[in-house]
């Protein structure tokens, strides 16, 4: 991405993050506790986490081992939460 367009891309990512946050809140307001909804909410959080890691932290443009620690952390946390909530 050309430096000129980076602020625009970041603004787009920000808009997506805000939208997904509002969706998460609305799901919470339904007060329906089902496994599917819980996993949907966490899947949304995972997408938001990847966007922050890749775009805000700029790890998406890092090549090599430093590209992965935050993404691996997100995946491990997701696996543990998935297993615990579906137990």
């Amino acid at each position: 991405m050309n430096t000129k367009y980076q602020p625009l891309l970041i603004t787009l990512v920000y808009a997506v993050l805000v939208g997904l946050t509002i969706v998460t809140y609305q799901v919470g307001e339904t007060q329906a506790h089902s496994l599917d909804l819980s996993l949907l909410v966490f899947a949304i959080a995972l997408v938001k986490g990847v966007l922050i890691s890749e775009q805000f932290m700029r790890l998406g443009s890092v090549k090599g081992i430093w590209r992965w620690p935050v993404l691996i952390w997100l995946i491990l946390v997701s696996i543990v939460i998935y297993l615990a909530f579906s137990a």
């Binding site: 602020p7 909410v41 959080a45 090549k63």
Partner: protein, 187 residues
């Protein structure tokens, strides 16, 4: 094309610190989720007592703050010192909004007589939320230092490590809240 780099933005030592912090928060999240297995009704009942609307505003405040920090870094790369300073002030403002809302939430819990020993849910909620709150407080001090340095024109395209290190720490604080919010307030 996006320039491919070998190391993450900022100081590598700071990144080791960030990974260590993420591991600690990861253990908190895992412990919460595993403890919940045998206490589902308790967790779901007390979760409803939390102020989900306040958590929504807090999430939006932290995301906005992170966004302004990214824009401040990009402004420096485009040699727009004054714009970077304004973005950093906005990031600070959003961080303070988080602190004010969260402080009110804690004050409400204290008024209700809720403590770490009230029950297992509150033990986890208060521990995780307060641990994160301390990180936000430290992050705000870092952002304030960055703002002063930006005001004095200390960062430029050749000297940006300090700014990127502080920015990376702040994004970590945001990232942790992105997981904490749905896990504790919604799921």
């Amino acid at each position: 094309m996006t320039k491919v780099i070998k190391y993450p933005p900022g100081d590598l030592a700071l990144w080791i610190f960030i990974i260590a912090e993420l591991l600690v928060f990861g253990l908190f999240f895992a412990a919460y989720a595993i403890t919940r297995i045998d206490n589902i009704e308790l967790f779901e009942f007390y979760q409803q007592n939390l102020d989900r609307r306040a958590a929504l505003w807090n999430t939006l405040a932290l995301i906005s703050s992170s966004y302004f920090v990214v824009q401040a870094v990009l402004a420096i790369k485009r040699m727009r010192q004054q714009q970077a300073f304004v973005f950093m002030l906005l990031a600070l403002l959003m961080g303070f909004v988080f602190m004010v809302i969260k402080t009110q939430e804690f004050a409400h819990h204290i008024d209700m007589g809720i403590t770490l020993s009230t029950n297992t849910f509150y033990m986890f909620y208060l521990s995780m939320a307060f641990f994160h709150y301390l990180h936000v407080a430290l992050g705000l001090i870092i952002l304030a230092v960055l703002a002063v340095n930006l005001y004095k024109g200390r960062y430029n395209i050749e000297n940006i490590d300090g700014l990127e290190s502080g920015a990376s720490y702040w994004h970590m604080v945001d990232l942790v809240w992105i997981i904490l919010f749905p896990l504790v307030y919604v799921m």
